[in-house]
């Protein structure tokens, strides 16, 4: 693509927190967006794609690195960009027409003029007749149309879409995607480029010219894919399906060496791998599904299981981490252990899970600490404090919650909510040797 570069990001990093408690949201990102391009940013939740979008629009200042717009570093909010928000961000106390006209008022457009433009745009997106309605009277799809009309009203050069379809029902989302593509392909918009953040791979392939895949811990760019299929795109096209597989592999599959795979224990050198936020129930559901379906494309799973793609990735990560499944080029398959789990009785499942879970560095570390503690118990706060240097606040708490949940199910540890104490679960002989040593003392 030989067109002009509209936006360029150089070595952009964003770090949250202060001195000893830092959390890197995105690290050293380089990216360029050209005129006439539709770029999609894809990645699992927590990979910093929304942070990146906000730095591009100037809502957030990068900790280091520079964002250039038409070769000039941007200061403050970029006046040539607008955002269509995931949650619409309409002002509920204003009518549809007022919401759109307001964007023009802020830019100093005269009163009669701004209502004329707003009405025309509402016409364009098919909302004529709803000018006097309040947002709460509209369906999600219609609200997002207002969001689009408002964004288009200020004639931006760079239109940023922050997961604009993910809060809509499937049909409305599909319809709105089609309408946007019609306007974009038909060059009926004054827009020079579109940048869309998404976690829906099919959506990205069906719309974008280029897909940038991000990974997490910290957010970084994993891979880029050019989509050279003609519009409108056919999802049955083999090339489309191939792209789906590649991108899933890039997001879900990891080709990292074994050690960093499970991470290190908190407090020791090396990154502590984040426990995926998934429940034991969801894991069992996934494994049972895979037992009947065999090896499968991951992208088909979210529909079949009725799961949000973000949640699905978390469960898959959990299965992989525990050694119940393997991932290969966008496909997932049960390991023999996973097969055994799916077929086992409730108690055997527990046993299998416990065997694997106690090898995870996080749980291993907790068990180790509890073993040497008086009465084999420690306050919840102690663990949280130890985790705080590794994770940002809420995340540390969530990680501990997940570890407690898994540990409780595995009957490795016990949690006393009244006193906020974590205890070694000695009731079932999993720690026989150690507890006898304790008694001997």
């Amino acid at each position: 693509m030989a067109q002009n570069v509209l936006l360029k990001i150089e070595h952009v990093t964003k770090i949250y927190g202060r001195k000893d408690r830092q959390f890197t949201a995105v690290k050293d990102i380089n990216l360029a967006i050209h005129e006439g391009e539709f770029v999609a940013l894809l990645g699992p939740s927590g990979c910093g794609k929304s942070t990146l979008l906000r730095m591009i629009t100037g809502l957030i200042e990068p900790t280091s690195g520079t964002v250039y717009y038409r070769d000039k570093p941007i200061k403050g909010v970029n006046p040539y960009a607008t955002i269509v928000f995931q949650t619409f961000a309409l002002y509920p106390w204003l009518t549809v027409l007022e919401n759109v006209a307001l964007a023009l008022e802020a830019r100093g457009v005269a009163r009669s003029e701004r209502y004329r433009i707003a009405e025309r745009l509402l016409d364009t997106v098919g909302l004529d007749g709803f000018e006097k309605a309040y947002p709460r009277e509209l369906s999600g799809g219609m609200r997002q149309k207002v969001g689009f009309a408002r964004a288009l009203a200020v004639e931006p050069e760079l239109l940023c879409l922050d997961e604009p379809f993910s809060a809509l029902d499937v049909l409305s989302a599909e319809a709105l995607r089609g309408e946007l593509m019609e306007l974009w392909i038909g060059e009926q918009l004054p827009i020079k480029a579109i940048l869309m953040v998404s976690h829906n791979i099919e959506e990205a392939i069906s719309m974008a010219d280029r897909i940038v895949v991000m990974g997490k811990e910290p957010g970084h760019i994993v891979a880029e894919f050019a989509v050279d299929l003609p519009h409108p795109r056919d999802r049955k096209n083999p090339r489309f399906e191939q792209l789906l597989d590649y991108i899933y592999a890039a997001i879900a599959g990891r080709t990292l060496p074994e050690i960093s795979e499970v991470g290190t224990a908190p407090g020791t050198p090396g990154p502590t791998r984040i426990l995926p936020n998934a429940s034991v129930n969801a894991l069992a559901g996934l494994l049972e599904h895979l037992r009947t379906s065999g090896r499968q494309d991951i992208y088909k799973l979210d529909d079949e299981l009725g799961l949000d793609m973000g949640d699905l990735i978390q469960v898959i990560e959990m299965a992989e981490m525990l050694g119940f499944a393997t991932i290969n080029e966008g496909d997932i398959e049960l390991t023999p252990l996973g097969e055994a789990y799916a077929e086992a009785s409730i108690l055997t499942r527990k046993e299998l899970f416990a065997q694997r879970a106690r090898r995870l560095p996080m749980l291993q570390w907790m068990i180790q600490m509890l073993k040497v503690a008086p009465n084999n118990e420690l306050p919840w706060k102690v663990f949280l404090t130890a985790l705080l240097p590794e994770f940002p606040d809420e995340m540390a708490e969530r990680q501990l919650d997940i570890a407690i949940n898994w540990g409780r199910y595995a009957e490795l540890i016990d949690y006393d909510d009244d006193n906020e104490l974590i205890r070694l679960d000695l009731s079932n002989g999993r720690f026989e040797v150690e507890s006898e040593v304790q008694k001997a003392r």
Partner: protein, 576 residues
């Protein structure tokens, strides 16, 4: 259920017990008090009060005067709360200092300031102006804290995407305030205004009837009308006075607050249609009336458009919402801090100087008084608990009874207890323990409604399925209360108790020592020490007793209420 939203919930910070900023804020308050005392020393010996006429024709004027004071104080409170709340929500630094200050200010018994404020103002200003100003300051301090917390909370809970949209669409500061921040805060501000006015009447009445020996601080108004009528035993004037007070409160509710609340429905952020939105017949009437329409089209709309044009400067530059903080504290801040330190230092020296002159007997008096008032507060709150829990549960869980009782309860609750105090005294002063009973009754009257409303809110919030489960398990009587009702009510009761006990301490200042019909109604108590020391001009004792009350209330808040509140929040919340 309409009352469900009316939870009288003061903002409570649950983090630490005491912090540096708390101590600094207490010192600042001591400074203000000490400097106030200094000024008070030169207060005139004799202040003559107004003649209060008891004929019916005087009532409209008195009512207008009272409403005027309330209105003026309310406007001040509103402006203050928006500015302060805005400032507190601006940055972490401002938040760290402004919030603890607010927290202490709202737990300070406001009436304990009244004597000091009155005396110091009369020393420096013409008498009538000083007394009016003192009344307004008093009402202001009773109205403003919850408004401020409400606005502050709105500013910190404003959905991020609304803020981002405002930035990305390049709203000017004015537009951001008018379109985003103010509408978002509106509903909370209006609900809290209703509360503030209810509290304001209590203090207005107290301020209007305040006398100290030769100093008559009374103001012409409904409060002094009632007290004069009671003093002279004029029953018909008493009845007219009470009736016009009730009428004013009901009219304000119907013509101002209900329409405002109904109108503010549009500012709800929830994206679903409300099933039972607040409605107002008056607002509906206004919306239909041609005159209101004309007024809007030809007066308000053009006016607002003009204001918009004037204030809506197009911004050239919109700063990022999250910037990398590299700024260093400026020299200005150090100068400000050193001036503050000097001021505090001076105040503390003054205060110590005053307090050092007290004899051990005085301290004993204060200690005994504090204990007596503590017992009185406990009795009042206990009585309130005993009757409000069963009544509140009945109203809260039985919609049919609620439909009949709620309006009555609301009207009765809206009569400020201080207005009834002269009447109470009229009936009780000649009994052997009359003054004691009257004092406890005044505390009770002033505080039981908070509790009742909270219990009703809590009872109506008990989920139906939990009630069914309790029925199915066959739990009745006491066991039902122990397993379901009391735990479910616990957070609401605690919230109510915090406000109630604070109010009861406050009331002790007017309740424990009053002149009535030529007699002095006096009981042993901290409130009595404060009022009496003002009357005889014993400033060291006044300072010491006022400080004792402030510190006691703050400590009880922190040690008892905060702990219980945290427990309630963590263990007994039903809506998890």
């Amino acid at each position: 259920m309409a009352l469900r939203q009316r939870v009288f919930r003061s903002h409570i910070q649950t983090n630490q017990q005491f912090s540096i900023s708390d101590v600094v804020m207490l010192l600042i308050i001591i400074t203000i008090l000490a400097i106030g005392m200094e000024a008070a020393l030169s207060s005139p010996e004799i202040i003559s009060g107004p003649d209060i006429r008891l004929n019916l024709t005087a009532l409209p004027l008195y009512s207008l005067l009272s409403i005027g004071r309330m209105f003026f104080a309310y406007v001040l409170s509103l402006i203050f709360s928006i500015v302060y709340g805005y400032a507190a929500a601006q940055s972490k630094t401002t938040e760290r200092w402004l919030l603890p200050l607010l927290d202490i200010l709202q737990s300070v018994p406001i009436l304990s300031f009244l004597p000091v404020v009155l005396l110091s103002l009369t020393a420096i200003l013409p008498q009538r102006i000083a007394i009016e100003l003192a009344a307004i300051i008093l009402i202001f301090t009773s109205q403003t804290w919850n408004l401020t917390f409400s606005f502050y909370q709105s500013m910190t809970t404003l959905p991020n995407e609304l803020r981002e949209a405002a930035a990305i669409f390049r709203f000017s500061r004015w537009l951001r305030f008018r379109i985003v921040e103010l509408p978002f805060a509106a509903l909370g501000l209006i609900w809290n205004s209703v509360m503030s006015w209810a509290g304001g009447w209590f203090f207005l009445m107290a301020a209007e009837i305040f006398t100290l020996g030769n100093r008559d601080f009374r103001l012409p108004g409904l409060g002094s009308y009632l007290s004069t009528a009671a003093n002279k035993g004029d029953t018909s004037a008493l009845i007219y006075g009470i009736l016009s007070l009730v009428a004013i409160i009901i009219l304000l509710d119907q013509l101002v607050w209900q329409p405002l609340l109904a109108w503010a429905e549009r500012f709800k952020v929830s994206q679903v249609e409300e099933e039972h939105p607040t409605t107002s017949w008056f607002l509906n009437g206004l919306r239909r009336s041609g005159f209101a329409y004309w007024l809007r089209e030809h007066f308000f709309s053009p006016l607002f458009r003009r204001i918009d044009q004037r204030l809506n400067q197009q911004p050239h530059y919109i700063a990022s919402l999250e910037t990398e903080n590299t700024a260093k504290p400026s020299a200005l801040r150090y100068i400000f801090l050193s001036i503050l330190m000097l001021g505090i230092g001076y105040g503390i020296v003054q205060a110590i100087d005053l307090i050092a002159s007290l004899s051990p007997d005085d301290w004993l008096n204060i200690a005994i008084g504090a204990l007596a008032t503590f017992i009185r507060v406990t009795i009042a709150v206990t009585i309130a608990l005993i009757w409000t829990i069963p009544v509140g549960v009945i109203i809260g869980t039985k919609p049919r009874i609620a439909a009949i009782l709620q309006p009555i309860v609301q009207i009765v609750a809206s009569i400020p207890a201080t207005a009834l105090f002269p009447i109470l005294l009229l009936g009780l002063i000649d009994l052997p323990t009359g003054p004691n009973i009257a004092a406890i009754l005044l505390m009770l009257l002033g505080t039981q409604w908070y509790l009742l409303f909270n219990v009703i809110a809590g009872a109506s919030a008990i989920p139906q399925d939990l009630q069914y489960t309790t029925d199915i398990m066959g739990l009745h009587g006491w066991r039902r209360w122990r397993t379901l009702i009391l735990p479910a009510l616990f957070p609401y009761i605690i919230t109510g108790l915090i406000t109630s006990s604070g109010g009861a301490w406050n009331a002790s200042i007017v309740a424990e020592y009053t002149h009535f019909g030529g007699q002095t109604s006096k009981v042993v108590g901290l409130g009595a020490v404060i009022t009496e020391s003002t009357e005889v001009g014993n400033y060291p004792l006044l300072l010491a007793s006022t400080l004792t009350m402030i510190i006691l209330v703050v400590i009880i808040n922190r040690i008892v209420w905060r702990r219980l509140y945290r427990l309630a929040e963590e263990q007994y919340r039903l809506d998890q």
